[in-house]
């Protein structure tokens, strides 16, 4: 193996074990079904079993050496590489680096939380927990797979469990109508539930993402053929990334943009479309960008998100918002920046502008729901927060005004560091908010913000926990969200000052929306209907506590994540130290 790939130090295939552990959990559920065990045991068993991936990921983190870099890139570690499909040169290729490891950690932390949040599920419990495990499997696989074939399989497959979670355990139509204020909560719900809303949400989500990834699939088939024409057929994401950055692999030193252009030339496409290499990198850029922008919900590709987040069951919302949306951002960092740096630099202002619109529109969208559906409001704040990540991506790629120098490298790297931390922080805080919204619903049977009021007097612990989550989400200093946003702004300032300046509007408005939400639920006069709302149970408190602890911990000591990311960030931005024109 080349110097930039190193295997697991002790020879144990930790990443394969990590990937297999949710599947073993699936077998255990099957066993429980055969033995006709009680649903309660299944719930507890799966939750405990989800600690196994957590422990494995923890061991991987301990063994991970964050400072290693070789041959112009950070070292990908715990690599496992086996030939899989000879005919297409597909390898079973797993590995982690500074960008994927934090997201793996986020996944394994959020999965048990989602399992805990599903304890109230009564229908088809085994299927629900099986889908949670499958979703965890797909997301983990996505973050550690380094061959396009497997990467794409996990990317698409993750839709399946998410689709069924929304479809089968999502909100009933009556609940949705009530949440948006279309139905009075006191009237009895109709007996039949056609489930139109959740069905359309699930279907939109599924087809939207699937349609978006078509370009990606086509592009990689094209890249395979292009690299084949150059004598090195590959689906290897690391190799393609190195070619894109002009680092060379196995003696092939032609940059990817030239490989792409030569192949287009050979096919005669250049005769029709004309143009130089930049045109073809740009096509590639948009194919990748649209696929991931849909998942990340960058404006204007965000329209599926509010419905999907709000119609999903609590566990579904937690995993969708906390982890699945990060799949888009991860894809941008893993593919978009290394593969087509020239087009990324060229279009950076466009991404920046889209991100900016998303930030502001998401914030105002949230503000518009302060009298409506609490889950939609949280959904809109997610659009806002993911906008910062997209802004960071744009800032990394942007050419910047000044002469490239070391300080710009620092800025770009801090944008990536900030983006990764923001992803983790947002995952934790939004996960906590959706969890708490679910708990709130169990108590009050409503998601409608107009139907609350004064809950702090009857449920003080709940109010405090929710308060911490809200403040973490809106980026109060001392919490992880602040550090992420701070680093993104610090980094983006250097290359995209205007956008950064305008993006601060989003900060203020989201904060306003979240605080208004908090006020409507917990402050003001007590709503009589809710006078007997119970406070938090110890189990619920202990479910939410790890998230809050992590949020504070990362807020005070962000190096826990940034230490992992920094080397990779510094290496990824190297390629942008030159101006492509």
């Amino acid at each position: 193996m080349p110097a930039y790939l190193i295997a697991s130090p002790d020879g144990i295939p930790w990443l394969t074990l990590l990937l297999l552990s949710p599947l073993v959990g699936l077998l255990l559920i099957g066993l429980a079904g055969l033995l006709r065990l009680d649903d309660r045991i299944v719930k507890q068993g799966v939750t405990i079993w989800m600690l196994v991936p957590l422990i494995i990921a923890g061991l991987v983190t301990v063994g991970f050496r964050p400072a290693l870099a070789a041959e112009g890139q950070s070292v990908v570690q715990f690599v496992e590489k086996l030939p899989w499909i000879d005919a297409l040169r597909v390898d079973y290729f797993l590995g982690v680096d500074g960008i994927s490891l934090p997201l793996v950690l986020l996944t394994v932390v959020m999965a048990p939380i989602a399992a805990l949040a599903s304890f109230r599920v009564t229908e088809r419990v085994k299927a629900h927990y099986a889908l949670l495990l499958l979703l965890e499997w797909a997301m983990l696989g996505y973050f550690i797979a380094l061959d396009f074939f497997f990467f794409f399989i996990f990317w698409e497959f993750s839709l399946v469990p998410a689709f069924f979670l929304i479809l089968l355990w999502g909100r009933s139509d009556a609940e949705s109508a009530e949440a948006s204020g279309d139905r009075d909560p006191d009237t009895p719900a109709p007996a039949s539930d056609p489930g139109d809303r959740r069905r359309s949400a699930a279907l939109t989500f599924f087809i939207y993402t699937m349609a978006g990834s078509l370009g990606l699939l086509l592009l990689f088939q094209f890249l395979y053929l292009a690299t084949r024409a150059a004598g090195f057929p590959t689906f290897d994401l690391i190799a393609l990334g190195r070619l894109g950055q002009g680092l060379g692999v196995d003696g092939l030193d032609t940059p990817l943009r030239d490989i792409l252009f030569n192949y287009a030339n050979q096919l005669g496409i250049t005769g029709v479309l004309g143009g130089g290499p930049l045109l073809y990198s740009s096509i590639a850029f948009w194919a990748i960008f649209i696929a991931f922008a849909i998942k990340l919900a960058v404006w204007p590709f965000h329209t599926w998100l509010p419905a999907a987040y709000s119609e999903a069951p609590t566990a579904g919302s937690i995993l969708l918002a906390a982890v699945m949306s990060k799949m888009g951002a991860y894809g941008m960092l893993r593919l978009l920046l290394p593969l087509v740096p020239d087009a990324a630099q060229y279009f950076a202002p466009v991404i920046g502008a889209l991100a900016l619109v998303g930030i502001v529109a998401g914030a105002f969208g949230a503000l518009a729901h302060t009298g409506g559906d609490i889950k939609r409001l949280i959904g809109y704040t997610s659009i806002n927060h993911m906008g910062y990540v997209a802004l960071a991506v744009a800032a990394v790629a942007a050419a910047g005004a000044g002469v490239p120098d070391v300080s710009l490298q620092d800025s770009r790297a801090s944008a990536i560091n900030g983006a990764v931390l923001q992803m983790v922080a947002h995952g934790l805080s939004t996960g906590a908010l959706f969890l708490l919204a679910g708990l709130l619903y169990q108590r009050t049977r409503t998601y409608h913000l107009g139907a609350f009021g004064g809950l702090r007097t009857v449920a003080p612990v709940f109010a405090n926990v929710m308060g911490v989550a809200v403040f973490a989400n809106l980026g109060l200093p001392g919490m992880a969200g602040f550090v992420g946003e701070f680093f993104i702004f610090r980094g983006a300032w250097a290359t995209l000052p205007l956008f950064t300046l305008l993006a601060t509007i989003g900060l203020v408005v989201t904060a306003l929306a979240l605080l208004l939400m908090y006020r409507r639920v917990f402050l003001g006069p007590l709503n009589e209907r809710l006078a007997h709302t119970p406070d938090m149970h110890p189990t619920e408190f202990w479910t939410a506590l790890p998230l809050l602890v992590l949020l504070v911990l990362l807020g005070i000591f962000p190096a826990l994540i940034m230490g992992l990311t920094n080397t990779t960030a510094l290496q990824v931005v190297q390629v942008f130290m030159q101006a492509f024109t």
Partner: protein
């Protein structure tokens, strides 16, 4: 060229199929059965188990003969056991004998072997599916016809001569006509049988016409070149004559067009697909599954062999979207690309409004024929490597297509046995009535829709790669868009299964052997999807044959 004794093991699977067909028929006819329900069940099971055991054994023998799982090393000791294996494998595709077709009419190469294996396996799974079914009248006939048609399909897969081709197609089709109309008292089934027969007869006529034109060309060319012989119907010979004559004439092109149209009926390519929705809907469900899978596999292999060995001169290029002028029509790949385009569009769009599950799947199967054609279109590539990818992707797709369709029709059959209907609405709430069956159904439907990591995904992925390499980028894009469209109707099936509440919560039982057949198919769908290398290494053998 003489038929030698050493040729007998080369057609051993076919001989065994014939023997089995006679055995099944005889064991039923020469037995007296009481006229009670118990006796009828007994009678049905006797025939079904004999047919299933026989097909299973033939499958195993064919597998040993193929040498794909285990190849006897040359220096193996000589004893009773190794001699059996050695003799079997001497008739297999790896032996030297396999390089020339028997009497120039029946090739026993890897392509044939793979076709045989798939077809026999499909017949085996179909028979397994019917074991627990409500007994039918004259089960002996029923299974004899299935086995006879399987024999025809094996011959189709290996046929390398025009008359052999015609006989094989008829041997396949005539039993299928009878099977499609097997429920004599059911109006839809009789109608299906009748329609299938009429359309089939017409397509045979077209096929024969194409053959006579081709033969006419070959005979004329032979006379002008001064060569004689009675081998003018052999694919190889026609190719040589065309090559010697230089330019192909209009006559030959016309012959080829009729041949494509004739076989196009069998593989339900638009515009020759009209019969299939009615037949698929009306025929007994296991027969629908069998027609949709095995007969298509055999027809596609035949089409591939016919076109690539006989008409390499007329290959053409696939990058032409619509032949605007006569001069831009360059050969059969352009024609097939155009047909694939039509098939993808019509198949997928027509499936959208269907309310009958079997009819919907019929259109889905038409749409899949479009994807399969893309594998053939890849033959227009200039590099041999790319052409090989084309046949490899076609064969992988055929295998994946066979198992997932057998599975999905199988689930419908189980539900049909219980509810006596195959509207989509009978699937309502299947998840509540039988969760295991619903999960199997989901696996098959997702595979049909091309969701990773199931084999349907890799099949599409590979076929798109092959078509893209061949320069049919526009077709790949059409394929991708129609894939998204197809999601809509596939998800509609799943919606019925998981969302729509059922009329009754009564559980739907899955009899043991039906479940076995379905679980086998589902395992194949998953394993082939996750480890495509298993089957691709086998398919690799074909490339050497196809590259000639």
């Amino acid at each position: 060229m003489q038929f030698a004794l050493t040729d007998v093991p080369r057609i051993l699977p076919e001989i065994l199929l014939l023997v089995l067909a006679l055995l099944v028929l005889g064991s039923d006819v020469f037995e007296r059965w009481a006229n009670t329900d118990a006796a009828r069940t007994e009678q049905h099971r006797a025939s079904a188990s004999l047919a299933a055991l026989g097909l299973g054994m033939i499958l195993i023998i064919a597998l040993i003969q193929s040498g794909y799982v285990y190849r006897l090393p040359d220096d193996a000791p000589i004893n009773f056991l190794t001699n059996i294996v050695r003799n079997l494998q001497n008739g297999g595709p790896a032996s030297e004998l396999a390089t020339t077709p028997i009497l120039g009419a029946f090739a026993t190469d890897d392509l044939t072997m793979i076709g045989r294996l798939v077809v026999i396996a499909a017949a085996f799974l179909t028979v397994l599916l019917t074991y627990d079914a409500r007994p039918t009248a004259n089960p002996g006939e029923f299974y004899t016809l299935i086995i006879g048609s399987t024999l025809g399909m094996c011959l189709m897969a290996g046929s390398s001569e025009l008359i052999m081709t015609f006989l094989a197609i008829e041997l396949t089709s005539i039993p299928l006509y009878v099977l499609a109309g097997y429920f004599r008292n059911d109006r839809q089934s009789t109608e299906a049988g009748m329609k299938y027969f009429l359309f089939g007869a017409m397509s045979s006529g077209i096929l024969l016409y194409g053959m006579s034109l081709t033969y006419g060309y070959a005979a004329t060319a032979a006379v002008t070149q001064g060569s004689t012989g009675n081998n003018l119907t052999q694919f190889e010979r026609i190719r040589e004559l065309v090559a010697q004559a230089g330019e192909p004439t209009v006559l030959l092109t016309l012959g080829m067009l009729f041949l494509i149209a004739g076989i196009g009926y069998k593989v339900t390519v638009v515009p020759f697909h009209g019969w299939s929705p009615d037949v698929y809907q009306g025929a007994p469900t296991p027969i629908t599954a069998f027609i949709a899978t095995a007969s298509k596999v055999a027809s596609f292999i035949l089409l591939f062999r016919l076109l690539t060995t006989t008409f390499p001169v007329l290959t053409g290029a696939a990058d032409v979207i619509i032949p605007v002028e006569a001069s831009t029509f360059t050969g059969w790949t352009s024609l097939l690309a155009l047909l694939a385009f039509l098939t993808l569009i019509v198949g997928n769009l027509a499936a959208l409004p269907q309310t009958n599950a079997k009819r919907l799947l019929a259109y889905s199967s038409i749409a899949h024929a479009g994807f399969l054609l893309m594998g053939l279109v890849a033959w227009s590539a200039s590099l041999a490597m790319d052409r090989e990818a084309g046949i490899a992707s076609l064969l992988y797709y055929l295998v994946a297509y066979t198992v997932m369709n057998l599975g999905v029709f199988g689930v419908l059959y189980v539900v049909d046995q219980h509810t006596r209907s195959d509207e989509i609405s009978v699937l309502n709430g299947l998840a509540r009535r039988n969760l295991g069956l619903a999960v199997l159904f989901t696996i098959f439907v997702f595979s049909l829709a091309g969701i990773p990591p199931l084999s349907g995904f890799f099949a599409k992925f590979y076929v798109f790669m092959a078509a893209w390499q061949a320069g049919a980028e526009w077709l790949v894009i059409v394929g991708l868009i129609t894939t998204i469209i197809s999601l809509y109707y596939y998800l509609r099936l799943l919606r019925a299964v998981f969302i729509v509440p059922p009329d009754t919560d009564a559980p739907i039982p899955t009899p043991r052997w039906m479940a076995t057949s379905l679980v086998l198919s589902a395992l194949l769908v998953i394993v082939l999807g996750l480890f495509p290398n298993i089957i691709l290494t086998i398919i690799d053998n074909v490339q050497a044959v196809a590259g000639r």
